[in-house]
Amino acid sequence: MSVIAIAGEVDKTNSAELADYVERIRRPRDHVIFDLAELTFLDSSGLHVLLSCARTCADDDADVHLAAAQGSPARLLHVTGVDVRLPTYVTTEHAIATVLATRTS
């Protein structure tokens, strides 16, 4: 399991950087938990990074989990229906606990 915390503002000027970072960090078959507690702005290009990570994960039977989104990013996840398509949690601890439980079962 990889927990990736994204902080600050993600827009088109830095979303490619984020994509590179996510790709570098993630090991094959790893579940990914995005900790969004400190994320204050997310545009559609940033959301694409999360979704494309979810597609990569799906290829090797892993999931992307979204945790602790607040404010504007939380609303973008909501209006686009992404918070229904991907497992979404109020806290990162909750996301971690869920992934661990899935593993041992």
Binding site: E9, D11, K12, T13, F41, D43, S44, S45, L47, H48, L50, L51, S52, A54, R55, G71, S72, R75, L76, V79, T80, G81, V82, V84, R85
Partner: protein, 147 residues
């Protein structure tokens, strides 16, 4: 809140600056919480499109209205079409872009006009109903500001 204003700045790669300006204008126009965030996100998406798909040159104009604010994004390249707007879909798998869908979903009104200077996308956003005492009924419960 009723004093009119008009503010203009060029489309530039510094999206954070444009977001800050839109936030100041939107707040001045009476928007708060969720609706202010939505306006900021919608303008951000429209400006990003000018940088990505347009001529990377244009202007952003914010104007106070009786009911809220209008933000106009002018793309000098003039290639944004009604077809693009109408064809916008949300795609939660993320295979396609959905900036234009998000814009239309979040704003109270969106219109597109082809002008001599380029394509002009106008985003309308009304005051947050929850800040207006007269609207504090059902609408107020439906749209709670975040704080």
């Amino acid at each position: 809140m009723s004093v009119q204003f008009e503010l203009r700045c060029p489309v530039s790669a510094d999206l954070a600056f444009i977001r800050d300006l839109v936030r100041v204008c939107g707040r001045y126009a009476g928007l708060t919480g969720e609706r202010l965030d939505h306006l900021v996100l919608a303008v951000n998406e429209a400006v990003t499109n000018v940088l990505d798909h347009g001529g990377a040159a244009g202007s952003v104009t914010a104007r106070g209205t009786q009911d809220g604010i209008i933000v106009e994004i002018l793309d000098f390249a003039g290639r944004l079409s009604a077809g693009h707007l109408g064809g916008a879909r949300v795609d939660p798998t993320g295979a396609h872009g959905f900036g234009l869908w998000v814009i239309q979903r979040l704003c109270d009104g969106v219109s597109l006009e082809q002008t001599g200077l380029g394509s002009l996308l106008s985003l309308h956003m009304n005051h947050d109903p929850a800040t207006s005492v007269r609207h504090l009924g059902r609408a107020g419960r439906e749209r709670q500001p975040a704080h």
